[in-house]
């Protein structure tokens, strides 16, 4: 079942660690957001395969914006 990974807080996308098709395990690093001068790593909420990546490096995202989808 597809699952959207949402931004936990508003911030700038600093880096995206995975690519479409990558198989990830729960707690694997997906991307890094920069907010409040700190770098927050967004981890995989469950095992899956990265099917879509919406987040782009440098993009400003708001809280709860979808960042990528795990299939």
């Amino acid at each position: 079942m597809a699952e959207d990974v949402l931004a936990p807080l508003a911030g700038k996308v600093l880096s995206v660690t995975v690519g479409v098709g990558d198989v990830v395990e729960e707690d694997d690093e997906l991307l890094v957001l920069e907010a409040m001068k700190m770098e927050t790593v967004v981890y995989a909420p469950a095992d899956g395969t990265v099917s879509t990546i919406m987040a782009q490096v440098g993009q400003q995202v708001e809280e709860d914006d979808p960042l990528m989808t795990l299939g």
Partner: protein, 577 residues
């Protein structure tokens, strides 16, 4: 109290291979800093004459004496790189730390007899006062290895006088004795003037056969009367007097053992003095290891080496503090105090070698929607908000009530700022925490895991703002400063930059100064600088942290000045509800 303490709530999880891989470069960076500190420590050990030269004279070095005196595996050095006035000798010329002598914890300190026969140097009295303060706070014996030639005369103006000058330790010894804390001295070599008082001020004096101690040494006794200056004839007269002086140095064992009886015992061998110190340590009262154990000691459930992959070298990278703590405390178990309140700090009861301690640490990262509840901006761990400050105040007060020592872990960028934060009373709650800490009168130690910044460095058990901090440790990631260098550059130069622009002048000079300030902040906040200036008492490898926690806890519970029966404790009941 088995239901509370035998097996507490387990926490932490094993590292995943992905995390190890991802943190590899960070781990390398931390180890590189540790290697640099290690080189500086080696250099500090090697100052002065080589060991072989000292041994050839029939003497042991201070390090050899320590090795013989202190139980193997228990030595926790402190102030190794402390040299606040940047002496050319590379040392304050005393070596100190916590160690066990025949199973009993003591603060041990000795003059480095490889450097100017153990002379007083600038910054040394501050170093010694840290040792006397430590013995007072932990209420454990202070053991001296005295071998002190007196003041380095050409620099006397830097340390002889003043409120915390070189004579201050003598009355601190008296204060320790008034508090029932014995000061033992093993005395070697020639100890004139300042060295004489270093020798006479402890409680029990054990001397090597060739030792002496005196109000003044041969240099003064054989000297000449002042005549307002020197010329060749006077210097030649001085040389003749010095060459003609054949008397024995004043205050040797014939005087101070046989005549005055100041020396309690005299030993023919250097090691005999150290064996004598061991005899006296054995003769002191001390609770056995099991007396205050609330449960059997356990190792943490996870390897301590994991810390290199859990504590990011990058000060901006978020991590999980709970995972750090899980590598340090017995069984990776805890009783967490108010887990649903003040999420930016962990507060809870843990065990070190089966003995109870209160632990407090900054959590990192985004704190969730709606927090802090008084603000319209997101809360990030590392910063302190109203709830976290209230929670720490409550926890500290309860630790004081239950007589639990406290271990603080700092990685803090400061207390929340702005009008909303002021209305939320953070200023008063921060100072309130300083008040709460003072009220406890329990020993505390601090580990500055990464950032120690702004007032938060003070209020979270920092050595600056209370009398209960026994010692503070730095790690390879430590950074202590009033604020980040970039923030300081903005605060210092923003208005000037605006003026320059308005005047139509180039911004380049201002930008250059801003970048210089950032660089200076970086250089003066890093681990080696913190150790040299005494912002921390020692920078330790991550893998050494638990050993220092064990030394602290063991020392605290050896001779406590007050106790709370476990079945009278309130904090565990408050936690369980």
């Amino acid at each position: 109290m088995k239901p509370y303490f035998d097996t507490m709530d387990p926490f932490g999880k094993a590292l995943k291979p992905g995390r190890i891989k991802r943190a590899a470069s960070s781990a390398d960076a931390l180890r590189e800093v540790e290697a640099g500190i290690g080189e500086a420590v080696t250099a500090a050990h090697e100052v002065g004459f080589p060991t072989e030269k000292i041994n050839k004279r029939g003497w042991m070095t201070v390090y050899q004496r320590l090795e013989y005196l202190v139980d193997a595996g228990t030595w926790c050095p402190l102030h190794t790189l402390y040299n606040p006035l940047e002496n050319a000798e590379g040392t304050t010329n005393v070596v100190d730390g916590l160690g066990q002598i025949d199973g009993r914890w003591a603060v041990v300190i000795g003059f480095d007899n490889k450097v100017m026969a153990g002379a007083w140097l600038p910054g040394q009295s501050e170093n010694i006062l840290r040792a006397t303060d430590l013995a007072a706070r932990l209420h454990i014996p202070l053991v001296w290895l005295v071998n002190c030639s007196g003041a380095k005369l050409p620099e006397q103006e830097k340390f002889y006088a003043n409120r915390r000058g070189a004579g201050t330790p003598f009355y601190r010894h008296a204060e320790l004795e008034q508090a029932g804390i014995p000061v033992l001295a093993g005395i070697y070599g020639t100890n004139p003037a300042g060295g004489g008082y270093q020798s006479i001020s402890p409680t029990i004096l054990l001397a090597h056969k060739d030792a002496n101690m005196a109000v003044g040494g041969v240099g003064i006794v054989s000297g000449m009367a002042p005549k307002g200056g020197f010329d060749t004839a006077m210097v030649e007269e001085l040389i003749a007097k010095a060459n003609a002086f054949t008397g024995r140095p004043p205050g040797d064992v014939a005087t101070h053992h046989d005549a005055t009886g100041f020396f309690t015992r005299v030993y023919d061998e250097e090691t005999g003095v150290l064996d004598g110190l061991k005899d006296y340590m054995r003769a002191m009262p001390a609770y056995g290891a099991t007396f205050f154990q609330a449960a059997d000691p356990k190792d943490p459930a996870f390897p301590i080496d994991d810390l290199y992959h859990l504590l990011p070298a990058n000060p901006k990278e978020v991590y999980d503090f709970d995972e750090i703590l899980a590598r340090l405390v017995d069984g990776s178990e805890r009783l967490e105090f108010r887990p649903d309140y003040g999420p930016e700090v962990f507060t809870g009861v843990c065990k070190i070698d089966g003995r109870l301690v209160g632990c407090i640490g900054n959590r990192q990262g985004y704190l969730g929607k709606g927090y802090p509840e008084y603000a319209d901006y997101p809360g990030m761990g590392g910063k302190l908000y109203r709830q976290g400050l209230i929670k720490m105040n409550e926890f500290v007060a309860l630790c004081g009530r239950d007589r639990l020592p406290i271990i603080w872990f700092q990685d803090t960028s400061g207390i929340d700022v702005g009008e909303l934060a002021e209305k939320a009373e953070v200023l008063g709650l921060g100072q309130g925490l300083i008040y709460s800490i003072q009220q406890t009168d329990v020993p505390m130690m601090l580990v500055v895991l990464r950032k120690g910044t702004a007032a938060a460095h003070y209020v979270m058990g920092g050595p600056t703002a209370n009398r209960h901090n026994a010692f503070s440790l730095g790690t390879p990631a430590t950074e202590i400063e009033v604020m980040h260098g970039e923030t300081a550059a903005v605060a210092t130069y923003a208005r000037r930059a605006a003026k320059e622009q308005a005047a139509g002048r180039s911004l380049d000079p201002v930008i250059e100064k801003m970048n210089e300030l950032v660089e200076r902040y970086h250089e003066t906040s890093r681990p080696a600088y913190c150790a040299q200036q005494g912002f921390v008492d020692e920078v330790v490898k991550l893998t050494e942290l638990r050993r220092y926690l064990q030394a602290f806890t063991g020392a605290v519970y050896q001779n406590p000045t007050s106790i709370c029966p476990r079945h009278h404790m309130l904090l565990p009941r408050v936690i369980r509800g």
